[in-house]
Symmetry: C2
DNA sequence: CCAACAAGTAACCGTTTAGTTACTTGTATT
DNA sequence: AATACAAGTAACTAAACGGTTACTTGTTGG
């Protein structure tokens, strides 16, 4: 019989579940497959997490918290103006490149019309980062670095959407544009171009 | 017994299948449910389309062709410079707003790493519109309307990704930004802002 | 009018899947 | 070392699901 270690088993289940749910969505994911990947008996999933849906919810929470860590780290650096904008875009690109599971799970939520997201407490998901970014752009306007007729809210939305779509649609876009959007090089090019696009819109000419 | 009408039955199956696949993805979609929605006997799905996967492929082709119609219509108008860019963005926003099934099916394809898309013949999906847009931007550079140091390929990619993400991520973004991204008004604001963002990047200042 | 075939039906089958039951075994505490 | 409970196992079940079989019925061309 296998060595007994409940913490290790739970962690293994969560890791396997994240991969399975991210790869196949809630319906496509197989509990038996998660058990096999985690190298534990299926019974333990039900013992530790209840059922498939409860396990999925736990995976979602885990996934969101990773993103929050990255954002909090960014805020701590206290950057301003163009260097902040560059850092935001760069950070999102890097995070999304390194966390395909996060991208997939967000997409799954959108396909379900955000049903799970709407169940969890507002303050868990309402990210202070958005407010921080908007305030930073506003102060960039005040000190004359950014144009003063731009809508900070819209700019932040555009930044996030532009970063995200490169990953959420990488397969269909790769096919459509006949380029490998999954490769490190292509993503780096996209990152630089996105920085150029957003900053050129923001910067006040003299 | 029901009136006999194979064309009507096939069309009903395709319509029901599109809704079912768009809502639940390939794995989540139920053949029995499609049959019920189409109000036909399940046997007919297998008679007309073969199996679940073949039906899904047919739905994919149908979905793409709607998009192609819109794009071909756009190309026919023979627009140039800024008015072309405005029209492209405007057309994508309107199409995506009116065709949520298209958005969902594309997202499912990405979640499945484009597995079905990659099986379809290349020339069916390789859209000439992309080449047309790139060429148009290049000629805008030649006649001095657009900056000459911009990368047309990257600009077209940015246009498409920026439009798409407003719809593919509308639920998570609505939650994150505390705004209703599904409403006509918000989408109109996003459309205008996106036009501003892209054109301000392209236009050559004097 | 009547074969012949296409359109449509109902009941069924083998497999897969989420979830359960009844059981065994390791280990920490006394 | 005996006890007690948590950790882990194997085999099972009921339902769901994709796909099939054997059949009936409407339509059409000679």
């Amino acid at each position: 019989m296998k060595e007994r270690n409940p913490d290790k088993s739970k962690a293994a289940i969560l890791r396997a579940a994240e991969a399975e749910f991210a790869g196949k969505g809630f319906f496509g994911a197989r509990v038996d497959e998660i058990a096999a990947k985690a190298d534990i008996n299926k019974r333990m999933i039900y013992a530790y997490f209840g059922d498939k849906e409860a396990l999925y919810n736990q995976v979602l929470l885990n996934t969101y918290s990773k993103m929050e860590d990255v954002e909090n780290n960014l805020i701590k650096q206290n950057l301003q103006g163009i260097s902040l904008i560059e850092k935001i875009i760069s950070t999102y690109f890097d995070f999304l490149y390194n966390n395909p599971d996060f991208v997939n799970i967000l997409m799954w939520e959108n396909l379900n019309k955000g049903s799970y997201l709407n169940k969890i407490e507002k303050d868990i998901i309402e990210r202070k980062s958005i407010k921080y970014f908007i305030t930073a752009i506003e102060s960039g306007k005040s000190c004359g670095v950014f144009k003063d007729d731009i809508d900070s809210f819209q700019v932040v939305l555009s930044m996030i959407t532009t970063c995200f779509a490169n990953f959420s649609n990488q397969y269909t876009l790769s096919r459509l544009f006949n380029t490998d959007l999954t490769s490190k090089e292509t993503i780096e090019t996209r990152k630089q171009h996105t920085i150029e696009l957003i900053t050129s819109y923001l910067i006040k000419e003299n």
